[in-house]
C-alpha cells in the first residue's frame, strides 16, 4: 500500500534523467536499521531479486531502500503501516512514549544509535540519510499553556498545573544526489501535537508494494489518470491485456462521494466493474505494471511478487516487469519466496543476465547480512536446479 505522499513524487527527479542518461542505484549501504547492524551491497542491476528465509531481512532491505531514497519523516508511519504496526503518538506525550514509537526502526532498539543509508547512483553520486534523535533540537512542551522553549536556553516557562515535557525530536539529516543538505524533523508542536516536516524525496522516486497490500484505489486511479494525461496509459493497458486478454480496457472512474477507482471494461459485462472486483490478483498485477510505468526513471520495491498471482502467469509476469523496466527505465527490487516463481524467470533472464542480480538475505550468528550473486551465476543455478532461497 502506498500513501498519498507518493502521489507527490511521481515527477521524476532531475537527477534520474540528468543528461538524458538513465541513472540507477548501483550500490547501497545502511547501518543500524531494523535487523541490520551494517550491510553494503554493490553492483545492483536493473532487476534485483531478493530472497531469504522468514525474518532474514528481505522486507527490511526493501524498507531500508525506501528510507534511503525517500528520506522524509513520512516514511516512518508508512513503513509501520505495511508491517501492520499502528503508528500512534498521543497528544501531550512523554519523551519515552515519543521515542518508543520509533524504536523498531533502530537496530537492537537502540535509540542512541544513528540509522544511516547511502545510495549511490550510476553517475557515482550518493544520497545520504541519517536518522537520529537530536537533543540539540529538543523542545519543551508546557501542556496547559503550550509554550515552546528550546532546551537549555534558560528561558522561563509559564506556570502550569502539569509538568513540562521535553521532547527530543527525530531528525532526518539528508544529503541529496546533488549534494544539497537538509534536515527534517518529527517532533511535537507547541500544542503537543505530532508534527512531521514534509520534504521532497531525495530521488529517484520510489514506490513500495508489499505482499499484503497493493496500492490504494484512490492512488492507483490517480496514477492511471496521470498516465492518461501523458498518453502513456496504453503501455499499462497493453501489458495487462497480454496477461488477461478478456479485459478490454482499464480506466480511472469517479464514484459517488468523489472517490476514484480503476474500472475494467470487460466486453461480456454490461457495465464497467472495479478491477479489484474482477480479481485481487489481477488488481495487484495491474498495480505492479502501473508502478513500473508510473515510476519511470525511478525505483519500484515489490515484496513477495508472487502473491495473488496464478503460477502459470509467473513467466509472463517476469517478462512484463523486465520489459517495462527497460522501456521505462525503472529499477526493480523484487522479493520472492517461491522457487517456482524464481525458476519462471529463466526465459526472461536468458541473454539478459547482466540486467539481473540476486540478493539473498541471511542470518549468521544472529547477524543479518546480504549475499549478492551475479546474474549469470544466478541464471546458471536456476537452470541447474539449485535452490537459491
Amino acid at each position: 500500500m502506498c500513501d498519498r505522499s507518493q502521489s507527490n513524487v511521481l515527477d521524476v527527479s532531475e537527477t534520474a534523467v540528468e543528461n538524458g542518461e538513465y541513472l540507477m542505484i548501483k550500490s547501497f549501504k545502511t547501518e543500524n536499521f531494523r535487523c541490520f547492524k551494517k550491510i553494503e551491497i554493490s553492483d545492483l542491476r536493473r532487476i534485483n531479486v531478493v530472497v531469504g528465509k522468514n525474518a532474514a531481512g528481505k522486507t527490511s532491505l526493501l524498507e531500508a531502500l525506501k528510507l534511503g531514497l525517500d528520506g522524509t519523516p513520512n516514511v516512518v508511519p508508512w513503513l509501520d503501516g505495511i508491517r501492520g504496526i499502528p503508528f500512534i503518538i498521543p497528544p501531550n506525550t512523554t519523551n519515552d512514549q515519543f521515542q518508543g514509537a520509533f524504536l523498531d526502526f533502530f537496530h537492537d532498539f537502540d535509540s542512541q544509535s544513528t540509522i544511516s543509508t547511502a545510495a549511490t547512483d550510476s553517475a557515482d553520486k550518493t544520497a545520504h540519510v541519517r536518522v537520529c534523535f537530536d537533543p540539540s533540537a529538543a523542545v519543551t512542551i508546557q501542556p496547559s499553556i503550550g509554550f515552546k522553549v528550546p532546551a537549555g536556553s534558560g528561558a522561563i516557562t509559564a506556570p502550569s498545573n502539569s509538568p513540562a515535557t521535553t521532547i527530543v525530536p527525530l531528525a532526518f539529516q539528508r544529503i541529496d544526489f546533488k549534494g544539497q543538505h537538509s534536515t527534517l524533523f518529527v517532533t511535537m508542536n507547541p500544542n503537543g501535537q505530532l508534527q512531521m516536516q514534509p520534504g521532497k524525496p531525495l530521488g529517484p522516486v520510489s514506490g513500495f508494494f508489499s505482499g499484503s497490500a497493493s496500492g490504494g484505489p484512490q492512488e492507483t486511479a490517480g496514477w492511471l489518470s496521470k498516465l492518461r494525461v501523458e498518453k502513456r496509459d496504453k503501455t499499462v493497458v497493453e501489458a495487462l491485456r497480454r496477461h488477461f486478454p478478456f479485459i478490454n480496457d482499464v480506466t480511472p472512474e469517479t464514484m459517488s462521494m468523489g472517490l476514484n477507482m480503476v474500472f475494467a471494461d470487460i466486453p461480456t459485462l454490461p457495465r464497467k466493474v472495479p478491477l479489484s472486483l474482477v480479481s485481487g490478483g489481477i488488481n495487484r498485477l495491474f498495480t505492479l505494471i502501473l508502478a513500473a510505468v508510473s515510476f519511470q526513471g525511478g525505483v519500484v520495491l515489490i515484496d513477495e511478487v508472487e502473491t495473488g498471482i496464478y503460477y502459470e502467469q509467473y513467466a509472463e509476469v517476469w517478462k512484463t516487469l523486465y520489459g517495462l523496466s527497460v522501456q521505462c527505465d525503472t529499477q526493480l527490487f523484487i522479493s520472492s519466496h517461491s522457487n517456482e516463481c524464481l525458476k519462471a524467470m529463466l526465459p526472461t533472464m536468458h541473454e539478459h543476465e547482466e540486467d539481473f542480480r540476486l540478493l539473498r538475505a541471511d542470518k549468521k550468528n544472529g547477524i543479518s547480512l546480504i549475499h549478492s550473486v551475479d546474474g549469470k551465476y544466478f541464471e546458471a543455478g536456476l537452470d541447474e536446479g539449485f535452490d537459491h532461497r
Binding site: 549468521k364 549469470k376 551465476y377 546458471a380 543455478g381 537452470d383 541447474e384 536446479g385 539449485f386 535452490d387
Partner: protein
Amino acid sequence: MSILLDHVVKTIPHPFLVVCEGYGDARFIVKLLGHLKIRNCNVGCPSMTGGHGTGITAIPNYLNAVRGVIQIGTANLSGLLVIPDADKHPGNCFSDICTALTDAMFPIPSQPFSVEGNPMRTAVFIMPGKGRTGTLEHLLWDAATTQNPKLKKCVDRFCRCTGGHINSAPENAKVKMKMSAIVAAHCQGNPWASPAWMWSEKDNPVPIDSPCFKEVSDFLTVFTT
C-alpha cells in the same frame, strides 16, 4: 559424502566437490567414494532437465551455478575436481574445462591430473585416465573384463552378429553398447539397468574394488585429503 543429484539442490554441504559430465559418471564416483570411505566430498553433474543438457558442453553452466551457490553463502568449498571424458582429444578437453573454470572465477590447474591451489584447490581428471582416450565406460569395460576375461570374447562376438550399426559406430559408442549389453545380461532383477544405475544392483558385473580404478581412486584420495 553428498550427492548433488536431487531434483532441487539446496546447498553444497561438504568442502570438496567433484563435477562429472553426467549422471552415470556421477553415480560411479559416488560409489567409488563410498568404497574409499571418503565422506567429505559432494558429487554433482549438469541437470538433465536444464537448458544445457549434460556432457562436457554443459559443464561451464554447471560451474557457473556452483559459483552462484558460493556467492549466495550456502557453500564453502576448499576443492573442485572436474572429471570430463577424454573422448578423442584429451588436450582439447582440458583446455575447455580451464576456460569454464576461469569463467566461473575458479583457479585453473597448470595441467590435468594435478591437484593445485591453496586455499582453493582445483584439478581436472580426464576419464578414463592418463594417456588414454575414451570415456568412463572404457574404464568400466576394463574392470568388467578383468574380472571376467571370457566376457570380452563373448561380447565382441555378440557385437559382430547382432547387426545394426554397432560395427561401424565410433569407439565410444561401441564400448557404451557393450557395457549396456553386459549390465542388462547380469542384472537379473532389472534387465533395464544401465551402467548409470547398475551400482544398486547386486549382480552388477563391475567390481568397485577393481584394480582398474586404482588411478582414479588414488587421485580422489589425494584430492580430498
